[in-house]
Symmetry: C2
């Protein structure tokens, strides 16, 4: 019966080759990471998903503080008039903002925007706080919920409300603002690779795709297992656009009033979706140890036999004492059923211990990433487990990087570009930089993601679209289908 249950258990997840979107939905719902909220497009982040977010927050917050940022909290509600002060910004956000018009039965004098992002309200406060060059730089981050009404939604990937962090800084010089913009992109890349075990393509977005109100937007792009690109974080150089719109002025050393230069940058609960689609497989989730809510699960075998449960409890306490996030599964179900459940939940390591193992002073450790099994001595187990967790973490990045690198192809014309992205690849090519070509590519192909990498070493001398010679002025660019 355990086997039958096991079968049906695994069958509950759609075939990832045949229907990747359904596979994703099955995985995030059935692992208890998330549920649909009652209002269309909203999500409930359940404890197992939220614990991943807490680990992400913990890792990122330490990095923000180490780079000199402080946290603060700005109001959820923004007067509608603020949104309209920066022309591109209002154009970008007005159609998708939720509006508060009433309190109880009373109509408000001015409708309020539920923040889709906080540049405007933070700009208003910075205008008050920044008076002198001594007040600069200002480097503030906020952990908050934001609301952007989306037509098509999917848990974590695109929801009407999501959780994120948004950094907002102000600097004396344009060089400092650009340095900050790129520094935070680099913080994101390093975090994504070393904590999420997801390699990132880093670069600049096209002007068409930049943040509404920015001078330039930089992005980290991750390849999902279906070959599509997931924009995982962005960092914007805002120039003086918001400073001028919100009248942020400071008295500089030379006794003249100047506008500071600003940056903003953010990542969101979308990263949880990236984890699912970068590492998962037919059995469900596979979580990198650094963000896994449970790093090791201990499953006693023949639990009713004398001494088994006691030994399992002892090992649990041992690993907990070593700072490992460990859970003992002493429920009534069969070991097979438990193996399936914890594999589906993506726990990096499983420790099995039964009467024979205890006799031999060993246990069996299984890896979620390779399905490799090893018999380990109980002597020095905590150290060995810690090493194995490091190895899983390292190997998951290697594996994801190999997958990504084997799914990038160079293309020389639009047909090749279309074929590449349709077959689940990133297409690397040269582009003349003209908006007309960018629009035409979007029209003719499903390539909705564009990223110009920092290393601009050319791989050709003609535009992939118009075919015109570039004379060294072209852009190296990646196209992909976007999430």
């Amino acid at each position: 019966m355990a086997d039958k249950k096991e079968q049906s258990f695994v069958k509950e997840i759609a075939d990832m080759q045949a229907d990747f979107p359904q596979w994703y939905t099955d995985v995030v719902l059935k692992t208890g990471m998330v549920d649909y909220g009652p209002v269309k497009g909203t999500m409930v982040i359940r404890p197992y998903g939220y614990a991943v977010w807490e680990n992400i927050q913990h890792e990122l917050d330490a990095r923000f503080k180490a780079t000199g940022h402080q946290n603060a909290y700005f109001p959820l509600f923004i007067p509608y008039s603020f949104l309209t002060k920066e022309a591109e910004h209002v154009e970008g956000f007005a159609p998708e903002v939720a509006l508060v018009t009433h309190v109880g039965n009373e109509e408000l004098p001015e409708k309020l925007v539920v923040r889709p992002t906080s540049e405007t309200i933070i700009g208003t406060m910075y205008a008050k706080w920044i008076q002198s060059w001594r007040d600069l730089p200002v480097k503030i981050n906020q952990w908050a919920n934001v609301v952007r009404w989306e037509k098509t939604t999917r848990p974590f990937l695109r929801t009407s409300e999501f959780l994120w962090q948004e950094g907002h800084t102000a600097h004396r010089t344009p060089e400092e603002a650009q340095e900050e913009t790129l520094q935070m992109l680099e913080v994101y890349r390093e975090f994504a690779e070393n904590v999420l075990a997801i390699p990132m393509l880093t670069g600049r977005k096209t002007d068409k795709e930049k943040f509404a109100g920015a001078d330039a937007t930089y992005t980290i792009e991750a390849m999902m297992l279906d070959g599509k690109s997931l924009q995982s974080g962005t960092s914007h150089n805002l120039g003086q656009n918001f400073a001028k719109a919100f009248d942020i002025k400071y008295l500089d050393k030379d006794n003249t009033l100047k506008y500071p230069y600003q940056s903003s940058w953010g990542v969101s609960t979308r990263l949880i979706g990236a984890l699912v689609m970068a590492h998962g497989d037919q059995r469900g989730l596979a979580l990198p140890p650094k963000v896994a809510p449970i790093q090791v699960v201990i499953v006693p075998v023949a639990m009713h036999k004398a001494g088994v449960l006691e030994k399992a409890q002892e090992l649990t306490a041992l690993l907990k004492g070593a700072g490992i996030r460990v859970e003992l599964d002493d429920r009534d179900q069969s070991p097979g059923w438990k193996f399936n459940e914890w594999e589906m939940k993506g726990v990096p390591l499983r420790v099995e211990i039964g009467p024979r193992d205890i006799e031999n002073n060993v246990c069996v450790v299984s890896r979620r990433d390779t399905f490799g099994k090893d018999t380990l001595s109980l002597d020095g187990l905590a150290d060995e487990i810690a090493k194995l967790l490091d190895d899983v973490q390292r190997h998951m990045l290697v594996k994801a990087t190999a997958f990504r690198d084997s799914h990038i192809v160079d293309v020389a014309n639009v047909d090749e570009l279309k074929a590449a992205v349709d077959s689940g690849h990133f297409a690397r090519t040269m582009w003349c930089g003209e908006r007309a070509c960018e629009d035409k590519i979007k029209e003719l192909t499903a390539a909705s993601s564009r990223c110009m990498p920092f290393d601009q070493t050319p791989i050709g001398d003609k535009c992939v679209c118009c075919g015109k010679p570039l004379n060294g002025k072209g852009k190296l660019i990646y196209f992909a289908k976007a999430y």
Copy 2:
């Protein structure tokens, strides 16, 4: 000139004896804890205030997890119809909820409530998740922002939007729900006393004052320095009210469908206001070491002299290495100016070090709580500082407890009750338990806070209001003016 600046610096804070509300406002604004948001009644929590909140979160979150709770996140928006499902709940909250009616230019089919609290949306999800007795207990906590439109607002104490945590649990038996309700009140009390250094009066609220939709509400009440009471946290036994309203049913061991018993409990950014008004003085804030963003500030004296700055930097690194939150103030201002600033900001310990101190291998340490000064050897300094911080923490609770205890008076009639609360005291007395007397006391006095302590040893045999004999059925109760 430094002296003059120093003078004006201190004068910026209103006299706390003459105008306590203005003193409070001056302190929270001028220390950079908070600012007014652009929408009436909202606040911006600035880095210095937010860092206090982060320390509060860190301490509480560890306690919630240690008592078996998990964090999750539920949506901000609640369909209006949900609010109306629990009759008392909608009556309590409907007048003060912010309503989202539009997205962009489009009207929504149903107006959405911006959560004032999450019982209703969580109830809806629990109805989905709780199917069997095996699913119980459910013990979830959420850190979130909530919105309640208030007519009269003050930063931290009462704002249209605030940050809080809300725990929501479901249990098989009424006993378990009651145990949880009281356990979390005890977690709050222990936290408030040991971390915030604020003694709490714990007890039950009257039926009139309980949470809209609860069977019983328990409260922790703190005395502020003006003798008023600040409700600092509440824990509610919800009985089966929300389970019935939201149709949460589970199949019990006996194969029948039953409603679970629930609790909910919360504390908010209001606690920051409690810290200010329980410990502050004419010089500004005084923060207990466990929540102080900066525990020790190092001020070099005669900083231009050779070796002074280097020694100050060395001490800073030393204390940081010992896990102490330390800041070196190496700005250009005079030591006197700096002393004032850090006293105003409530930093528990100040270390001064100048050329003569260095010669003698000592430094001067000043306490914010007692203004005591001590000369300490630089040998073993980190240990001594850690001990001093413990002592400041301990002493602040002793001091606040002595103040509180000396401002409680027993009263036997309404005139005495009125006189007591008007002169900044908690009035302790006996009450018959009738709503008529409760209403009359509110009408005749400014006593808006009521708390019935757990220890109900009677102190009299007649009701303070109607004078009727109680025959052992009266309630021991504290009255006070409420924040």
